[in-house]
Symmetry: C2
C-alpha cells in the first residue's frame, strides 16, 4: 500500500474566503460556518444533537505539501521546527483538526464553530468527543 484515498464527505461554507480573513487558530476569533454534508452520507449524522462537541477533520486543499520545517506562526524569532511538532497547515498530508461545537442542524447542513477553515474546504471526517456517543 503506497497511498490512501480520501473522499470528501462534505464542504465548509464560510465567510472566511482566504488567508486574509483567517485567524491562525480556531479559538482566536474564528466565526461559525456551515458544514454541508453530501446527501449519500446523511445517515452518518443519525442522533447528532445541538450543543455537542465534535472534531471535524478537513483536507486543507490550499496548503503546501512540500514543507517539512518552519518557524512556528511565521515568527522568525521562534526556532525552526518540524511541521510534525507544529499545527501549521503546510505538511505532507494537509489534514486540519477542528474541535468545535454543533450549533444547529438543518437536514444535512450543520452549523458549527468556531472554525477558521476557508470556504470550500473539503471535510473528510467528523468524530464525537463526548463519552455519551463512545464507540
Amino acid at each position: 500500500m503506497t497511498s490512501c484515498t480520501l473522499k470528501p464527505v462534505g464542504f465548509i461554507r464560510s465567510t472566511v474566503k482566504g488567508r486574509e480573513d483567517a485567524p491562525r487558530q480556531g479559538p482566536e476569533g474564528a466565526p461559525d460556518a456551515w458544514l454541508e454534508i453530501e446527501p449519500q452520507f446523511a445517515e452518518a449524522l443519525l442522533g447528532m444533537e445541538v450543543g455537542h462537541e465534535l472534531i471535524v477533520i478537513t483536507w486543507l486543499h490550499q496548503a503546501r505539501r512540500d514543507i517539512l520545517k518552519g518557524h512556528p506562526r511565521n515568527d522568525p524569532s521562534r526556532p525552526l521546527t518540524g511541521v510534525f511538532y507544529t499545527r501549521s497547515p503546510a505538511r505532507p498530508n494537509p489534514l486540519g483538526l477542528h474541535p468545535l461545537t454543533l450549533r444547529a442542524i438543518e437536514g444535512t447542513r450543520l452549523k458549527v464553530g468556531p472554525i477558521e477553515a476557508f470556504d470550500g474546504t473539503p471535510v473528510v471526517d467528523i468524530k464525537s468527543t463526548s463519552t455519551r456517543a463512545d464507540g
Copy 2:
C-alpha cells in the same frame, strides 16, 4: 476535486496485532508503541522533545468504509448512531485520532503511547497539542 490522496509518513510497530489484542479506546489499557517515520520525512520531526503531547493521525487500513451507522461500542442497548457521532473506526474515511505522549526518540523512531492502533497501521500526520510549538 473528487479525492485527496494521503501518503503514509510512517507506520505503527506495536504488540497489538489485531482486534483480539486491542482495547476500544487508547486510554483503556493500550500499550506504548513505536512510530517509525519514513526517512524522507525526518526533518518534519525537528525540535521534538520527549514528554510532549502529540496527536497522531492514522489510516485505519483494516476498517470498513461502507458503514454509516451502528450501535456505539457494538452494544445493542445503545441507540443506533451515525458514525460521524461516534469514534468507531468504521467510517467513510477511516482516520484514527490518537492523543498520546512522546516517550522516547531514536532517530526517526518515536516511542509513543498509549495507543491502540494495530501493528502496521499507516501514520498520515502528527501534530503538536502544546502551545509552545504553536504554528
